[in-house]
């Protein structure tokens, strides 16, 4: 039973007549990138905020931040996705829930996927930010306070600039994860890269070409992300500083 390779199939017009199969893949590729980048932006902002709150002396604030992290980190991603997509629109105030359900299905899928990935990843970013701050020498905070900075200024000018440098390498792997995790969103019908891969298999009956093409697209994303994060690392490197990875 020989497999007959046929890479040309990717360039053939699709069964539905809307461009080529490669065009389908490109649509999924754009969806994966758009979703992942917007969720990453959300995760960075929320994660930085929550990670900082986890380290403040105020017990109520740090406790709240800890609860946030536990909530979003420990519920399986797929379950969170279903909650955002299926459950919350029912629980939301009627007007909001109905507006959501009447909107374009692609918008529904994208918004649910964005919130799901964004909150999930923000909890993981928060943990990295917290451990970055905690790994700074204790004396740095004292030195910042001793010179007259308020606690907020000590974070702003002294602790966070160093903590963020320390967390660039662990954040790289979170950044890569968000692209991988975005594949889960095909389960609610979002046509991102993995979903398009499955479509290609169904329509072209050339599974190897389809999966290889999709795999290469993910590899390309990984390479670009790693390269970009290396650049960031090099940009923010502090001359003479050997401290703590």
């Amino acid at each position: 039973m020989g497999y007959s390779w046929n890479w040309d199939v990717l360039l053939q017009p699709s069964a539905t007549g809307d461009g080529t199969y490669l065009g389908w893949m490109f649509y999924g590729f754009k969806m994966t990138i758009g979703l992942s980048l917007s969720a990453w932006l959300m995760a960075l902002i929320l994660g930085a905020l929550v990670g900082v709150l986890r380290t403040v002396p105020n017990k109520a604030l740090s406790g709240l931040a800890a609860a946030y992290v536990e909530l979003f980190r420990n519920i399986p991603l797929l379950v969170q996705l279903f909650i955002w997509y299926f459950v919350l629109p029912e629980l939301a105030p009627a007007a909001l829930g109905d507006a959501f359900k009447q909107s374009n299905p692609i918008v529904q899928q994208f918004v649910s996927a964005l919130l799901c990935l964004g909150f999930f990843t923000s909890a993981r970013v928060a943990e990295q930010v917290r451990s970055g701050i905690n790994s700074l020498p204790r004396g740095q905070k004292n030195a910042a306070l001793a010179i007259g900075f308020t606690l907020a200024q000590a974070y702003r000018y002294v602790m966070l600039p160093m903590a963020f440098r320390l967390v660039v390498p662990p954040l790289t792997s979170e950044f890569l994860n968000i692209f991988k995790n975005s594949a889960v969103c095909s389960t609610i019908g979002l046509l991102e890269l993995a979903a398009e891969g499955r479509q290609l298999v169904d329509y072209t009956a050339q599974p190897y070409e389809s999966f290889i093409a999709v795999t290469l697209a993910y590899v390309l994303i990984n390479v670009v992300v790693m390269f970009a994060m290396r650049r960031v690392e090099a940009q923010v490197r502090v001359p003479g500083y050997m401290g703590g990875h």
Partner: protein
């Protein structure tokens, strides 16, 4: 300038400071010494409120440190502090280390702050290093920068917590020289240090601590000539051997 009245502090059941009372007058240089774990760092950090304490009172220039209404950042801005591990801000150039708080805390004009920073660097002999980063300097140089950073805030007094004990022996003197100069200019100083040579030359008074208590608080001459407690005698005998 600095008064401490029956200051006590405990962590749970562990008593770190017990009824510490002393007074540092303007222009005085007080050396604090004592065995490891005796509470020297804790005592000196109570002066600028970096360590909270449960009872007693600390005042700096008449302002109560423990009073919750006191604006601690404002008070600290004028109380210089130098740490064992320098604690320069590693991501800033040397000159930025000297200007950031002048600008952000005191609201000085950046150009003016820069001039002041450069003048102080010149004073500690490090003007050529202004654009380097802390990690590129030796320990002795970093500590001199840390002193200059504190001076840039125009402090009314200075606190030192073992400023030379993280340094290689050949760098200790360059830091002690800067401190001696400061003392001669009349700066009020409270120094935790085991450099007894420095104490003999520069100190007005010596405080000896043991197990969280101020055991001796004497003029320098009285302390070195004839320490009253056995613990201080043993401590001196041990430290002067080296």
């Amino acid at each position: 300038m600095i008064t401490m009245n029956k200051v006590s502090k405990h962590y749970g059941a562990f008593q770190v400071l017990t009824d510490c009372t002393t007074h540092v007058a303007k222009g005085e240089v007080v050396v604090v010494c004592g065995p490891s774990g005796s509470g020297k760092s804790t005592l000196i950090k109570c002066v600028n409120g970096l360590e909270p304490f449960q009872s007693g009172e600390v005042t700096v220039n008449g302002i109560s440190v423990g009073d919750p209404r006191t604006d601690l950042p404002k008070l600290r801005a004028h109380v210089g502090m130098v740490f064992q591990n320098f604690e320069l801000f590693p991501h800033m150039t040397i000159v930025d280390n000297l200007t950031v708080a002048q600008v952000k805390v005191l609201g000085r004009d950046p150009a003016e702050a820069q001039d002041k920073g450069m003048a102080l660097l010149d004073r500690v002999g490090l003007k050529v290093q202004a654009l380097k980063y802390p990690g590129q300097l030796s320990g002795g140089q970093q500590q001199r920068v840390a002193i200059a950073r504190a001076l840039a805030m125009d402090p009314i007094c200075m606190l030192f917590d073992e400023p030379t004990s993280a340094l290689d022996p050949e760098m200790i003197n360059e830091v002690l020289d800067v401190m001696s100069e400061l003392a001669q200019e009349g700066m009020t100083m409270m120094c935790v240090t085991h450099e007894m040579g420095f104490a003999k030359r520069v100190a007005s008074r010596v405080i000896f601590m043991d197990q969280g208590r101020i055991v001796e608080d004497d003029s320098k001459d009285a302390f070195f000539a004839n320490p009253r407690s056995d613990r201080a005698q043993q401590f001196l005998a041990k430290i002067l051997q080296h």
